[in-house]
């Protein structure tokens, strides 16, 4: 009897351990908010989730610079997060590895619950491999005081931006009109794409089989970007900036305008809460206004066990509940919820948020391609060469076309042409 009891206890403990193992998942998210607040929020929500479901979630924050390698390692080795955040442009790439669980979007409220551009970023060959978490887009931030002193209104078109910039430079000096990112910024391509689209260009041809960015619109957009520095509207040092440096120039009050995203509002509140600023939609080009649609999705590793995948889906559902998502985006990360219901919160109809929501309505996403990371890297390298030529005094009217043609040839090779 005693032996049976011991055996039963051991078996029960083993079963308990097995169950406990299946209901513990690891979750990686990027630095979407100041770390201490981010961990506090996630740990609080993980505790709520555990109380509700019995599933324990271990949260770890990963830098944007490390996620590609960490996610690749997790997918290859089966070690690491069961559910993690990926940028919208990274999602198709990892879907192509076969390392992500195919998602039935109806389990998460259906396709109509999300913004089209964000939902599209989770797809590869028409199937979903992620769930949109939050969205972001770029708008033009401006320093209300500097523009007022210069006697100008925020620009409506790219031509007006130059005129407004010149007035600001007259009052505040060379390089004070706008802060732009340079060779060190991954956002460089996004900022250029905004102008490219407004000038009627596109990154790839309609069936995404060949480069299209070396068009006249692409050249005009690149020349426009370089001329911001060359004509003294932006500081020459912008050529070496990364995006946070460009953001900081605006936030510190050294530059009157900057293309930035909603997350920068958290930066302003933290670093210079007295900054007199407002935002407007990106200026219009000859083909109207355009902006970049980015954001992040939540994905589930396919080599996790069935129980872990089930637990991961439950955690994603929990994070996407409108009240929880709105709390995360409103009070912590300052992104826009990708879930339309969460975005119905009246908060997003006020102030700068109304502008971001309006911009998001027409913002463009990059094509959901496995090769997108390589394409982006290639364009980035050649854009860097354009800026390097400018710095070395070798930039002429053919430079942009030559480098864009070089990039296009490389991109076509990547696309298998």
């Amino acid at each position: 009897m005693k032996r049976s009891l011991i055996l039963l206890t051991v078996v029960s403990l083993l079963m308990l351990a097995a169950t406990a193992g299946a209901t513990e998942i690891d979750f990686w998210a990027m630095t979407n908010a100041p770390s201490d607040q981010h961990y506090a929020w996630m740990n609080e929500k993980a505790a709520e989730f555990e109380a509700e479901t019995g599933i324990k979630v271990n949260f770890e924050e990963i830098g944007w610079g490390e996620i590609m390698t960490r996610a690749a390692n997790a997918i290859i080795t089966g070690e690491g997060a069961h559910v993690f955040q990926l940028g919208t442009t990274q999602n198709p790439y990892f879907a192509g590895t076969g390392g992500l669980v195919e998602i039935d979007i109806d389990e998460f409220g259906g396709a109509d619950s999300f913004f089209e551009a964000n939902l599209e970023s989770t797809t590869l060959n028409g199937k979903n491999y992620g769930i949109p978490w939050f969205a972001e887009t770029r708008a033009l931030f401006y320093n209300t005081e500097m523009l007022k002193k210069a006697g100008v209104e925020p620009p409506n078109t790219y031509l007006e931006l130059v005129e407004v910039g010149q007035k600001i430079v007259e009052v505040y000096g060379k390089g004070t009109a706008i802060a732009t990112a340079g060779t060190n910024a991954w956002d460089l391509i996004h900022n250029w794409a905004i102008i490219l689209w407004a000038y009627g260009g596109d990154m790839l041809n309609p069936d995404n089989t060949a480069a299209a960015f070396n068009s006249e619109a692409g050249v005009k957009a690149m020349n426009y970007w370089v001329n911001l520095v060359a004509t003294g509207l932006a500081d020459e040092a912008c050529a070496e900036y990364n995006q946070p440096q460009a953001d900081a120039a605006f936030i510190n009050g050294d530059a009157a305008m900057c293309f930035m995203g909603p997350w920068n509002i958290a930066g302003i509140e933290a670093d210079n809460p007295d900054l007199p600023y407002d935002i407007v939609q990106p200026p219009a080009g000859p083909f109207g206004r355009a902006s970049f649609s980015g954001g992040s999705n939540l994905v589930i590793r396919s080599n996790a066990s069935k129980d872990e995948i089930k637990a991961a889906k439950a955690w994603v559902e929990f994070l996407l509940r409108p009240d929880i998502l709105a709390d995360y985006t409103k009070n912590l990360s300052k992104f826009l919820p990708s879930n339309k219901e969460a975005l119905e919160d009246p908060y997003y109809e006020t102030g700068v948020w109304a502008t971001f929501v309006k911009t998001l309505g027409y913002a463009t996403a990059y094509p959901p391609l496995v090769e997108w990371g390589e394409i982006e890297g290639t364009v980035q390298t050649n854009f860097g060469n354009v800026l390097a030529d400018y710095v070395d005094g070798k930039y002429d009217q053919n430079s942009a076309q030559n480098y864009l043609d070089t990039a296009a040839a490389e991109v076509n090779e990547i696309l298998g042409n």
Binding site: G65, M68, T69, A72, I75, I76, Y93, G96, T97, G98, G99, G182, T183, N184, D235, E236, A237, A239, E240, N242, G373, E374, G377, Q380, T381, G384, N385, L387, A388, D389, V391, D392, E410, E413
Partner: protein, 298 residues
């Protein structure tokens, strides 16, 4: 005798086993995958990665291909970087070693002090230099402007100046190690030799040329070969100063290989480029060793 030899083999066995697993196996695997189109899509079962023969090598070697152009440009940049970093760093190291070999109050403290740049982690040092070289707020431009050397701020972190930025920062970081090694060599030279040379009427330069240099030769040769090999491993300074993509003027093989293999996940191509780099280093080392007959123990 045979028993002692067996014992000796036994003693070195752990080191040999460790070396096989830490060095030889990864190298062999690296060489093996350099013949395959291994990427993130097939790495979960790398045996399914298609065998592509010498394709990856052809891409790397051929200066007509984009990757070939970048690779050879990066090798050229590395040679320029190495030439200036090693030569200028050596002159500074020798000067400081000679000074520190003189008796003066606080010499031990100063010997410790000069090591600060060398012992400070690369990331910290090169981040400092990144700040120093910033065009708008960096103190390097401020200093040059105040001295009247430049009239307008110079962009150091983009364009053709980038290689000089890396060279200056790397010299600052690297010379203390050379100084330390040379100082150790200087201290092995018997003082009687200098005294005898002085009595024979040799001036400072003659004492340096005919006593110091010949005695330091083994140390200098070893220091040089170490510097040459380390130079081809240069990565941290370029990555921290200029980011993932240092641009064509400051691209070195390590940054290119890192980007190809771990940013674009072209593991096969990255491995082939690594093997090519290893062969270049091997050739340089063999030429150096045969020219200068370096012996580790003199």
């Amino acid at each position: 005798m045979k028993k002692y030899r067996s014992l000796a083999y036994l003693f070195i066995l752990p080191a040999v086993v460790a070396m096989i697993f830490v060095h030889i196996v990864p190298m062999a695997w690296g060489i093996m995958i350099s013949f395959r189109d291994l990427n993130v899509f097939n790495i979960r079962d790398w045996t399914t990665a298609p065998f592509v023969g010498l394709d990856n090598y052809k891409k790397g070697f051929n200066p007509v291909t984009t990757i070939g152009q970048r690779f050879w440009q990066s090798v050229y940049n590395n040679l320029v970087f190495g030439f200036f970093t090693i030569s200028i760093g050596f002159v500074i190291a020798m000067g400081v070693a000679l000074l520190l070999n003189q008796p003066f109050y606080g010499r031990t403290f100063v010997r410790g002090l000069i090591l600060i740049p060398y012992i400070t982690p690369d990331v910290v040092v090169y981040n400092f230099w990144r700040f120093i070289f910033q065009a708008r707020i960096g103190i390097f431009n401020e200093m040059l402007l105040k001295l009247g050397i430049i009239q307008e701020r110079v962009i150091w972190l983009v364009g053709s100046n980038t290689i000089w930025t890396a060279i200056i920062a790397a010299i600052w970081k690297g010379w203390p190690f050379g100084a330390l090694i040379l100082l150790a060599g200087l201290q092995t030279i018997p003082t009687e030799l200098y005294e005898a040379a002085k009595i024979d009427g040799a001036n400072w330069w003659q004492r340096f040329r005919y006593v110091t240099i010949p005695f330091l030769q083994p140390v200098i040769k070893t220091l040089m070969i170490m510097n040459i090999l380390w130079n081809f491993h240069a990565y941290n300074q370029f990555r921290v100063l200029f980011g993932d993509d240092p641009g064509r003027y400051a691209e070195v093989p390590s940054t290119l290989i890192m980007r190809e293999a771990f940013n674009f996940f072209r593991y096969g191509l990255g491995s082939a480029l690594s093997v090519i780099l290893m062969l270049i280093m091997l050739a340089i080392t063999l030429i150096y060793l045969s020219l200068f007959k370096v012996r580790v123990v003199e």
